[in-house]
């Protein structure tokens, strides 16, 4: 695998650090219930891991993690999860984002709010992560433009 930078130090550092950054992103995402963190910060850290690979080993070799073609679609999916959870609560008789009205019968209202917030945060994380990667890819002209 010949990298874009041709520098083994940068390539090894990027390949070694990117999974650690993404693991920290997942930790920040799940820790948002109990302390500082949450969906946006976790998504930014997950995107930082992918962007470090984009910078370190080149745009074409880092397509294995998140392809440039799928970023906008995944961003739309994240926004759909975020808004759809709120709209489902409206359809079952509550206000927008009133998670206690979500149609899950075997959970109490408090547990329903807990998991509803977690579900919405999943949508935010996916949308922020893939949105930032899509911005970077569009700035470099890779992805939809086609010519790497």
């Amino acid at each position: 695998m010949i990298s874009q930078t041709q520098s083994p130090i940068i390539e090894i550092a990027a390949r070694g650090l990117a999974p650690v950054i993404q693991l920290l992103g997942i930790y920040v995402f799940f820790h948002g219930h109990y302390g500082p963190g949450g969906g946006f910060q976790g998504g930014v850290l997950l995107a930082a891991g992918v962007l470090l690979l984009r910078l370190g080993i080149g745009a074409s070799h880092s397509q294995a993690q998140v392809t440039s073609k799928s970023t906008v679609a995944l961003c739309a999916l994240g926004a759909f999860i975020f808004a759809g959870t709120g709209l489902v609560a409206i359809l079952w008789g509550g206000d927008f984002m009133d998670y206690a009205y979500l149609p899950v019968q075997w959970l109490e209202a408090a547990d329903l709010r807990y998991y509803g917030i977690l579900f919405v945060e999943i949508g935010i994380t996916i949308a922020v992560m893939t949105g930032l990667i899509a911005i970077y890819d569009d700035l470099l002209g890779i992805g939809n433009a086609g010519n790497n």
Partner: protein, 101 residues
Amino acid sequence: MELIANVLAVFFLLAGVTFMLVGSIGINRFPDVYCRAHAATKVDTLGIMLFVLGLVFFTGLSITSLKLILVAIFVSLTSPVAAHALTRRALLHGVKPWTKK
């Protein structure tokens, strides 16, 4: 025991502050990009690493000090690589190293 921990903490904090001061003077005074990157890397690695180790002695053994040690490890890993990438690009784009005339 707490006195020893506090003395060690103050020692490491002062050492970190000294490295940051010397590095900051170096960034302003050195002649070209390579010397300045050398000075800036001292601020990033040694200064922040010693500072965080001093904070570890303040907090004692807990989950917070484990996170602080992880911060020190990752700063010491990433900062030299960043300086390497910066100066390597400068050299490849034809910035001449400073020599004494």
